[in-house]
Subunit: 121 residues, 2 copies
Amino acid sequence: MENIEVVETKEKSCKVKINAIKDTMQLLSGKWKFHILGTLLIHNKLRFTDLLREIDGIGSKMLSKELQDLEINHLISRTVINSKPITVEYEMTQFGRTLEPIIDEIADWGISYRKSVIENN
Amino acid sequence: MENIEVVETKEKSCKVKINAIKDTMQLLSGKWKFHILGTLLIHNKLRFTDLLREIDGIGSKMLSKELQDLEINHLISRTVINSKPITVEYEMTQFGRTLEPIIDEIADWGISYRKSVIENN
DNA sequence: CAGAATCCCTGGGGATACTG
DNA sequence: CAGTATCCCCAGGGATTCTG
């Protein structure tokens, strides 16, 4: 039988976890964050136009905005290359790469989900 | 040096991964999905009002809608209890629990993120 | 208690055109 | 090429009230 302290401790750790989820999702909210991060994790380094082509459906406005969000939070880095037509490379920061387990879990889940949908038809 | 087939295979697996992310996020899009799932994973079984109280900031309309979304996709179950004032219990389905690794990763990341923010101040 | 209904409104986000 | 600027629209979502 649980005493009050144990219950309070459990309550507290719940809140911690929920708040942790809230914190993470704060950085990853938005329609395109996961797509961008996933794409950058796979390709390692991409230019603006590459991302535009790679991420199906996104427009330049949204891409630009989402990239800024991610950069502000130090999840990705932006490097301007001095080429004739100017070029910008985006890639995950070391910090950003700590998100890889999350992205991988999401991708893995999606793959088995699709399999299970196919099987049940 | 990579030959064309290898490159094509890599390209293909990229698309698969990106599409998998898209698939997963389709089910989990919306402002409150992760909070609800996290809360249900922790508490195992909760009534509507409990969720309303537990999830800070959500309103009954959004909660109701998000719960329906999750139920439609068989991630949670809805059970009506025949008590005097009617009562409804929500809990993760077995299928829904397969999302636990994702939720856990997100929570873990949020916890270390908060720690790193505190340390760097 | 569990929600549906109603009202309302901000901003997320799309399409297109423009610039350094 | 890498965005910014503009216009525009709707749906996501909040607050409140109502009902079985």
